[in-house]
Subunit: 318 residues, 2 copies
Amino acid sequence: MFRYDNGRLVVQFQACALVKLFKKVIEMNSRKQQVIKKSQQLFIEKGYQATSIQDILDYSGISKGTFYNYFSSKNELLISIFKELAEILSDKRNEIMIGQDPADLDVFTKQIELSMKINKQHRIFTLFEEVLISNDPELKHFVKESQMKVVIWIYERLLEIFGEEKQPYLLDSAIMFVGILHQNMKYYITWHDKDASIHPVVQYSVKRMATIVEDLAHTREQLNQPSLVDKWFPNDQTDSNRLQEELKQLLTSLKKSLIAEDQRPYVELLDLIEEELLQAKHPRAFLIQTTVNSLNQAKSIDSSQLEHLKQLITNLLN
Amino acid sequence: MFRYDNGRLVVQFQACALVKLFKKVIEMNSRKQQVIKKSQQLFIEKGYQATSIQDILDYSGISKGTFYNYFSSKNELLISIFKELAEILSDKRNEIMIGQDPADLDVFTKQIELSMKINKQHRIFTLFEEVLISNDPELKHFVKESQMKVVIWIYERLLEIFGEEKQPYLLDSAIMFVGILHQNMKYYITWHDKDASIHPVVQYSVKRMATIVEDLAHTREQLNQPSLVDKWFPNDQTDSNRLQEELKQLLTSLKKSLIAEDQRPYVELLDLIEEELLQAKHPRAFLIQTTVNSLNQAKSIDSSQLEHLKQLITNLLN
DNA sequence: CAATTACTGTACCGTTAGTATAATATATTG
DNA sequence: CAATATATTATACTAACGGTACAGTAATTG
């Protein structure tokens, strides 16, 4: 499987074997995921505070030792859950964007509606609120940053939708949109049927936001300068984030065409690239490079996309 | 002090003596208030969860037995604090309204700004959030109801400001205004100087809300019917609330004129009426009646106002 | 097979909210 | 003033929690 060619290490094997190797290296599977899943269920049912570690142990069928082998604390478990959900959310949002006009307000509405659905399912708001309190500064910071990221994502989408000329007012609009949306959701859910579609709420909220954007552009009133974002998130971090977003979008699009062509194994390869590149603390360039090379064999991936992918990976790895 | 006149019990004495009697009957003073005050300080500094009961005992210099004699639990203490703050807020809001046009948007802005200031001072948002989590259903319900009351108060103010013809859209407007305001506050505070005036934020938020109201009236879009409020708060309760609000406004106005005329003792009498009428579980009609009667001697209170007061009290007591 | 690794079980620590109670101080009342 | 009632203290206690420590066991791997 490994061999030297002119002093350079070369790895060659089928996609399947590579997948196996990766799965082991990345150790993303196993019971840890199970524990996350189970505790997530418990948190949804009972809430974070109300769920004791003993509950989690009983429900997942592991011992305390194992738990603290996986997670250094209950809070760290919660962060893991949040991160996973954020990943899912981001993936699905990108999926919606494929082949669509980024400036289409309806696409944005669909993305928000989906986010709200997942939020509702997993009680993310409740968990966030529950945590904003906790004494763990790390956890607090994580949640605050997550919420900030949501605002920034919306801000950047609004930029695509309303264009550069509205830019000075779009950070304010994003902030207020989040407020409108959450508050509307809250009361709509308490007053209407719990299983009622949230679509009207989202649509209604988006419309209000659009009105606000127009109004702000007209009255030229501004509360927060969009440049404040850079202050909070250092430039290189936002740059990196942007690259990550771009990569994710590209990957989702590639995956879709692969699935359409019935070339599933390659999808797994893409998953593994994403995994190693975005999740691992120290991505192993060598493994990623190998995987990308083996993508050459996939016919449904055209060379320009592959070039784009390689470019993104190089940028992300430096 | 007591004497019988034709078989009817009559009480006659000066305002001062009456005040003393009341203070004892109502037992509102004493160290309990001190404990509330001290623990409030601790909650502001350290947060609710992070403040242990032992901290409160040490800081207020009482024993555990006394604490649990005053409050049945830590949560109940928190409710006491909330109730007191709500009282203060309501008082100050009414004070602002005296002699002003209820339809003036600037008056509303001032009321909101003041509420935000007090909220900021006492970290009410944080405490509310901190509590939304707790497992105590009573506490949760209390907080939710409090937030709902804020929305309803805003809704009723908007009704005064924008008039009946906008009524169908004012509940939605109130809900979204709360979202806009809170969200704007949150990011404004994190990005700007902590001691910066919040006036621009409030003004900005109110303007957006006004835009939304106009837009809704124009597009005729509605998410929540204002009648839903009655569903949540039974009619008699909202009626009672309205009476209470009216009483409070009248009292604040009376107090102001009394202070202007330098007749302080009567102010205390009014305080005691309010105390007994709105706080006590079973207001003693007899005591209130007596107090009101002794108000006849105050020259700065005209008879029409006194009649109004008597009418309100009768309505509230049945 | 041997050695590393993953996992279990149990006992333990410090802290927390809340209970119980006997002793003591402070008011109230006849 | 003295008897009584009430308010307060001090202390010891319970049960639950998050988290630690560690010796023993099962599974995996080269």
